[in-house]
């Protein structure tokens, strides 16, 4: 029971920018609407197909049960695709133009996530955090 670490709506910009390397897994590149975050995510597209220009609601949470005003609420049923993994690195990239741009890396059993954006959106991230990544498609 805890709070959501990060949530936003992403628009898929590209799929497999470096060419399709795997049969079942695709790498999607997306950009968020609210926080203007850049995301690279490996998704098992065999069981959850995603195509270009899809809009996705993505949520990162340490638990599938959120504590809300009404008590604990399971969010599992509200999403179509859920992964579990570990946030393993947060990098403050000094080389880029805005100094407070941060990259957070997570691995969901080998499926990689990279979130890049302003540090203020990532304050709740911590290294070695175990996270659930939940996705559902949003109709535009």
């Amino acid at each position: 029971m805890s709070e959501v670490v990060f949530d936003d709506i992403f628009k898929v910009r590209d799929i497999n920018p470096d060419g399709q390397k795997y049969d079942k897994v695709s790498r999607i590149v997306a950009r968020s609407e609210k926080c203007d975050m850049y995301m690279v995510l490996d998704v098992n597209t065999e069981i959850y197909p995603i195509s270009k220009d899809d809009t996705l609601f993505m949520l990162l949470s340490p638990s599938l049960v959120l504590s809300t005003k009404d008590g604990p609420v399971s969010i599992q049923d509200k999403f179509e695709y859920i992964m579990h993994g570990r946030l393993y690195n947060i990098v403050n990239d000094n080389g880029s133009k805005t100094e407070l741009e941060v990259e957070a890396y997570a691995s969901f059993g080998g499926l990689q996530l990279m979130l890049r954006g302003h540090a203020s959106h990532c304050l709740k991230f911590a290294v070695d955090q175990k996270l659930f990544l939940l996705i559902r498609k949003v109709e535009t």
């Binding site: 390397k21 599992q76 403050n92 059993g109």
Partner: protein, 1392 residues
């Protein structure tokens, strides 16, 4: 040891034998035996040439006289009346009618005769030199090698003197006759009145002159003997003769005891005598003939024939291959009989075959096969083998029931026993089933049962060639059915074994001490990495890599049941596994393959193994991402392996992570961080798991794997035709002579170069396309990607294009007139005609292509055949020269005689086996830092340290371990105390690393941001106190544990580390070193040059660093100064000019060219250099400088008749005059390098040739940084090669030298010089059967006498089976003279 009492004789009183405890042979003295000594030593004079009488009994005074020892078990010795097994045998002797030379000493006798007067026998030195030399010889500081050198000088000096100072006799030269065993005294060059007289006397005789050579006189053994007898003691000493020289002449031959020349009885009646016996028989016969001749004839001339025969027989008794045997004897069948020398010599001889290496019992050998279900420390032994091999186990209350059952089972039923030894010393075979039950029931504590091998027994496992110490390792036995020896494939690497029919050997240590030592020192677990450089050697191979690669593929997912099943593969289904949360929870629960590896490393929460590592696999995409950074974990090929706290974050595992030959791989990390057991058990799990997984998954190769796609075919055709086009372009340019030349090459070489470059590029290109078009499921592709087998080249050869075939590094040579094969027109240089194979193995090769391919293939085969012999011999030499070097307690490297070789091993005293970092650095800071950050998570934001705090923490930690004083004030690396200095280097690198890592914490908190944000930034990039402390603790403690242990056989490890990689190198490896056309010999030939300390190396290269290295122009100027320039190269013309009045050679210089090459040459300089050339004998006045670029040479001898020849001679010679540069510098090439930091060009010169000192002296060259690859040029002093000549001069003992090469020479010399050698080196100890004092043998155990009493008391209670408390005195050795003689005080009671 008490010799068994011979039966028959009963003493009234026990003879007194002093028992002074175990003794040790300390030294060994070589000497010669005199006539009388042999006579005294012998029991019998042998003079009969027959063996047996008519009753098949040995004839007395024959060669098989029973007084020389019993011939078989049925008879006793008639001398000592002992049984066959007790009597060592006795000598006999043969008295020769006339003395003969001992061939072994023949060269020595000649040397002696050179030194002495052939009339009075005194040395040919005057009194003063005699005294002076004698004083030198008697100096106590001189050793054997120096004495030999001194004696050599004396001999040289004497050889020059002809006239004896004492008797005035004129001596000639003494030589060994070429075709006979004979010494000749040649006085032909002497001017002596006696010779004249003799000659004049001869001229009056009637006999034809040709028959008698008046000047040369044969010195027969009899004369020599009398001369040698006349020699003075002091004279002997001068030429380093330890004993009387007359002992070098044989008058009596010692007949060796029968025991060492046993006769073999063949089917009852026939007997086959030993070669030595046969040889002796021939001697006796020849002796008898000579005796008869002597008795019959009165004149002295006649007996010479028989004498010569006797001489030849005696010579062949000693050395059957001796040269100079009379021709009529060479054809006899006795030629095949071996002499004494043949017994000792060579690989199968006594020294190498029986003394240095002995046959052993309790061994086995069969074919090997793999079994991934075995642990890496195990070896499966077939039951058949286990019932034959045995281990003597002492009965105690813990094992009595087990051993009872073994005894009951007997030798044929497993688990049984072969023998039973009672405590009273009686032993019983268990073959008779009747007795077994009784023995089993009567088994008592303290009995010893030789039981069959059982699971867990310690065995040694070995595969030839045993090139390094990991070729023999200690395993635990596992008794299994079937017929092969089996072990885990992970252990193939150290043995270099495969399963194509290889056989391996097994040895069973027979004592508890041997077992303990074996498992601790040689256990597989303790030899996971090579002592060569610390890389891991025991690691996953082949299928394990393939399956790991496939399992960890990014799109490999399992559902709950499959995942659980695969988890159970890791163990035997009984292990606890914590199932992790699935990687994908919705829409279906799926676990990824990477999660399997997380489980493999850490099956459940109680396993405290946290692996942290990053590795770049082969498939890692080296291109940069959108921000021009490395991809790292985001690599699209998933090639970046990242383990974080035993969780596989990213990366597809392959050879770099799991395989051998890497220091940052998974198993290396486990080995370093969690010790060998963790690494071994992880390998066990991986082996089981991957073998079972791939068994279900299936992995094979088919024809479709090598079928190229249409796309590939098209692309390949295009690249090949493009490449051919380029080649044709070059060829055309070459034919027209328009090819622009490469530096230092002529047109043909340039063409060859260009074309080869294009064609090699072609195959690579085809390979690249090929790899791109293959499907990811293609088996060869998978294997090459994960590194289990095959390379991209192999695949492209199968699928796309076989490529250029080369012989000796060149394209196929011309085997026919101007063409490689008759299929092609003459002088074709096209790719196809010179061995380029455009087809693939799939499409098939054309006839010519096939032939070219076989040419390349044959070279490979020949290469391997030659290389094995070559490198094997090299290893042997290295080993023999370095075998006795070890690390002493005071951390110095010493030889067996305790002389210091190096003050600090490797200048840092570190153990190379433990080095974790690259380039032999002790630690990989980067990884340890990552690890300490990962295992100590930062909780809260408070713990983050600022830069100043970091410095403080570092200071604190260092002062704890007492290294703080090394900080700041900077201990220089060449400090007196090497230990401090080497640590200083480490501490400095550690500090700079921490500085680098914590630097960025400074500048983050500068911007105006919210507190939260600032804290967040700090948290993600800072380091906590705990993390830093853990990091420092790990670094410091680990560093101190990486010192080499005392007693380590450093020499042997070094020899292995050079010898073993040598066998893996291809012989003719040539490689470009930076600049085109500058080849440097590499590989085995280069190692050979270095090790042999060759005086002439094939590619000597001096790398000259320039004072100003940023300018191409100056580089060219300096090049001009160094490079050898001939007159021919700078002269426009060298003409013979003949006018009516004068004739001369006129040289015109090509000033344009000289200017171009930045040479400073004009006519005057040319004149000087011509004058300096010694071959041309011209004087100042002969050369006239006409102007700056013209000079005239007038021949010195103006004889008109010869002038034409003179002129032509000059004209031919002049072009080769060196006008500029260093004569030995053949060629200079400017090498251009780009500096890593400044991106500026840096120039240096590569000089092909010798003359380092000359090059250093050239203006513009920085002499201090100029280097040469020629050892002989760099080293001033004596460089000993590791060859038979070098090793001989290294002060080794005779036994060691004899066991190396030229056995008999060393032995003869040793006895000549009366060498007295300590038995202390490795070879000697092995030969004498004494424990080696290296390694565990460095410790001497002494026992306190009080302990014996308590031992005896306890014995009554416990049947004497317990450890005696021992005190260990590690002897701290300073270079003490007496430290070489150990004092063993082991008590007698230990031998009970």
């Amino acid at each position: 040891m008490n010799r068994a009492k011979p039966e028959g004789i009963t003493f009234t009183k026990e003879p007194y034998i002093e028992d002074s405890g175990p003794r040790r042979i300390e030294s060994m003295k070589f000497s010669t035996l005199s006539e009388s000594e042999i006579g005294k030593m012998a029991e019998v004079q042998v003079w009969k040439g027959q063996y047996y009488d008519q009753f098949k009994k040995p004839i007395p005074s024959g060669l098989l006289d029973p007084r020389m020892g019993p011939a078989n078990k049925n008879v006793t010795c008639t001398t000592c009346h002992a049984q066959f097994k007790d009597c060592p045998g006795h000598y006999g002797y043969v008295k020769l009618s006339l003395p003969v030379f001992n061939v072994g000493y023949l060269a020595a006798i000649v040397e002696i005769l050179k030194c002495i007067c052939k009339r009075c026998g005194r040395i040919l030195l005057n009194e003063d030199t005699h005294k002076e030399r004698l004083k030198k010889m008697r100096s106590p500081r001189i050793d054997a090698d120096m004495k030999i050198a001194l004696a050599k000088k004396v001999i040289e000096k004497c050889n020059k003197t002809t006239k004896c100072l004492r008797c005035g006799y004129i001596n000639g030269t003494v030589k060994k006759a070429v075709s006979a065993i004979r010494i000749v005294h040649d006085r032909s060059k002497c001017n002596d009145s006696s010779v004249e007289e003799y000659r004049s006397a001869l001229s009056h005789t009637r006999e034809p002159k040709a028959t008698i050579n008046s000047d040369t006189q044969i010195l027969d053994p009899f004369q020599v003997l009398s001369l040698l007898k006349r020699m003075h003691e002091e004279d002997c000493e001068l030429i380093y003769l330890a004993e009387r020289p007359e002992k070098l002449i044989i008058t009596n031959i010692a007949v060796p005891p029968i025991a060492i020349r046993p006769s073999v009885i063949m089917d009852g009646s026939q007997s086959n005598e030993n070669d030595i016996t046969e040889r002796l028989k021939l001697i006796i016969q020849a002796n008898a003939v000579l005796r008869q001749e002597l008795d019959e004839s009165s004149g002295s001339f006649k007996s010479l024939d028989g004498w010569e025969m006797l001489q030849a027989e005696v010579a062949r008794f000693i050395n059957s291959d001796v040269r100079g045997v009379p021709f009529n004897m060479q054809m006899q069948k006795s030629n095949t009989l071996a002499g004494l020398m043949q017994r000792l010599k060579g690989k199968q001889g006594r020294f190498r075959g029986n003394l240095s290496g002995k046959r052993v019992e309790f061994t086995g050998r069969t074919v090997i096969s793999p079994d991934p279900n075995l642990r890496i420390t195990e070896v499966a032994i077939p039951i058949h083998m286990a019932t034959i091999l045995s281990y003597p186990e002492r009965v105690s209350r813990h094992n009595i029931e087990k051993l009872r059952q073994c005894v009951r089972n007997g030798p044929d039923k497993y688990p049984g026993a072969r023998m039973l030894r009672h405590a009273d010393g009686s032993s019983w075979s268990l073959h008779h089933s009747a007795r077994r039950k009784r023995f089993a029931d009567e088994l008592r504590y303290g009995d010893i049962v030789d039981r069959h091998l059982e699971d867990g027994d310690i065995v040694l496992f070995n595969r030839q060639p045993s090139l390094h110490r990991m070729s023999i390792m200690c395993h635990r036995a596992r008794i299994m059915p079937w017929r092969t020896l089996r072990f885990n494939e992970s252990v193939c690497n150290p043995y270099n074994a495969d399963f194509d029919g290889d056989e391996m050997n097994l040895h069973v240590p027979q004592t508890e001490e041997a077992r303990t030592e074996a498992i601790l020192l040689m256990g597989v677990q303790n030899n996971l990495c090579t002592p060569k450089n610390g890389e891991i050697l025991v690691a996953s191979t082949q299928d394990f890599l393939t399956s790991s690669f496939l399992i960890t593929r990014k799109d490999n997912f399992y559902d709950r049941s499959t995942f659980s099943l695969i988890c159970s593969y890791m163990g035997d289904g009984m292990d606890v596994v914590d199932l992790p949360t699935p990687a994908i929870i919705k829409p279906v629960e799926l676990w990824s393959g990477k999660q399997l590896f997380s489980i493999l490393l850490r099956p459940h929460a109680n396993v405290r193994v946290y692996v942290n590592l990053t590795v770049k696999e082969k498939i890692y995409n080296t291109k940069r991402d959108d921000r021009k950074r490395e991809w790292k974990t985001m690599c699209p090929n998933d090639g970046f392996v990242y383990f974080r706290n035993s969780e596989l974050i990213s990366g597809q595992l392959g050879k770099v992570t799991l395989g051998n030959g890497n220091k940052d791989g998974l198993f290396s990390v486990l080995l370093r961080d969690y010790k060998a057991h963790a690494a071994a058990s992880c390998m066990n799990r991986l082996a089981k798991f991957s073998a079972r997984w791939i068994g279900n998954h299936g992995f094979s190769i088919g024809i479709d794997d090598v079928q190229p796609k249409v796309e590939l075919v098209n692309k390949k055709d295009k690249t090949i035709s493009d490449g051919y086009g380029k080649c044709y372009g070059f060829i055309e340019a070459f034919n027209k002579g328009k090819l622009s030349l490469k530096p230092g090459c002529d047109a043909a070489q340039t063409l060859e170069h260009e074309v080869t470059g294009v064609l090699n590029g072609l195959r690579d290109e085809a390979g690249k396309i090929c790899m791109q078009t293959l499907h990811w499921r293609n088996s060869p592709l998978i294997m090459s990607q994960c590194g289990s087998k095959g390379s991209p080249i192999n695949i492209s050869q199968m699928v796309a294009c076989v490529g250029q075939q080369s012989v000796g590094g060149q394209r196929a040579p011309n085997g026919f007139m101007d063409r490689s094969l008759p299929h092609f027109p003459r002088n074709t240089k096209t790719p196809g005609a010179k061995g380029f194979v455009a087809n693939s193995f799939y499409t098939g090769l054309s006839a010519t292509e096939f032939f070219f391919h076989t040419m390349g293939g044959r070279e490979g085969l020949v290469d391997t055949a030659v290389k094995t012999a070559d490198t094997g011999y090299m290893s042997r030499r290295l080993m023999k020269s370095l075998e006795d070097l070890f690390l002493h307690y005071d951390c110095t490297v010493r030889s067996a005689s305790n002389s210091i070789v190096q003050f600090c091993y490797g200048d840092d005293g570190m153990d190379p086996a433990g080095m974790e970092g690259k380039d032999g650095k002790p630690l990989n800071f980067e990884r340890l830092f990552l690890k300490s950050k990962a295992i100590c998570p930062s909780d809260g934001d408070d713990g983050i340290l600022s830069s100043s705090d970091v410095y403080k923490v570092v200071q604190e930690k260092l002062s704890e371990v007492g290294m703080s004083k090394l900080l700041g004030n900077g201990v220089s690396e060449d400090d007196e105390m090497s230990e401090v200095a080497s640590s200083a280097g480490f501490i400095n690198s550690l500090q700079s690393f921490i500085k680098d890592k914590t630097e960025f914490t400074k500048d983050t908190s500068t911007k105006d941001t919210s507190v939260d944000l600032r804290k967040f930034i700090k948290r993600i990039s800072g380091i906590t106190r705990r993390q830093l402390e853990v990091f420092l603790d790990v670094c410091l403690s680990r560093y101190s544990s990486k010192k080499v242990e005392s007693g380590t056989p450093i020499g042997a490890i070094g020899a292995h580390s050079i010898g073993e990689p040598g066998t893996q190198m291809t012989l003719k490896t040539f490689h470009f070193a930076g600049v085109a056309s500058m080849n440097v010999t590499l590989g085995v030939p280069r190692i050979k040059e270095i090790i042999n300390a060759a005086k002439n190396i094939s590619t000597p290269i001096i790398t000259a660093i320039l004072d100003k290295d940023d300018n191409a122009h100056t580089a060219r100027i300096v090049k001009g100064r160094i490079e050898k320039t001939n007159l021919g190269q700078v002269a426009k013309s060298i003409k013979v000019v003949m006018t009516s009045r004068s004739a001369s050679v006129v040289i015109t210089l090509d000033m344009e060219r000289i200017q171009d090459a930045h040479l400073n040459i004009d006519a005057n300089i040319v004149k000087e250099s011509i004058l300096q050339t010694k071959k041309i004998k011209l004087k100042q006045e002969h050369i006239k400088v006409l102007d700056i670029k013209k000079l005239e040479v007038v021949p010195q001898d103006a004889d008109r008749s010869k002038i034409h020849f003179q002129l032509n001679y000059l004209k031919n010679l002049l072009p080769s005059v060196v006008v500029k540069g260093i004569k030995t510098a053949e060629r200079v090439v400017i090498s251009k390098e780009v500096d890593e930091e400044t991106k500026a060009d840096k120039f240096s010169l590569l000089v092909e040739g010798t003359g380092l000192r000359d090059v250093m002296g050239i203006e513009g060259v920085d002499g201090r940084r100029t280097v040469s690859n020629h050892i002989d040029e760099v080293e001033k002093g004596k460089v000993l090669g590791i060859t038979r000549f070098g090793i001989q001069q290294m002060g080794k003992s005779v036994l060691m030298l004899a066991s190396f090469e030229r056995t008999s020479d060393h032995l003869f010399n040793a006895s000549l010089h009366g060498r007295d050698d300590m038995v202390e080196g490795v070879s000697e100890c092995i030969i004498m059967g004494i424990p080696i004092r290296i390694g565990t043998g460095i410790i001497k155990i002494k026992q306190r006498t009080e302990c014996i009493k308590c031992y005896e008391q306890v014995e009554k209670f416990n049947h004497g089976w317990l450890c005696v408390p021992l005190l260990i005195f590690p002897e701290i050795c300073r270079p003490l003279p007496d430290s070489t003689s150990p004092q063993m005080h082991a008590s007698d009671s230990l031998d009970v």
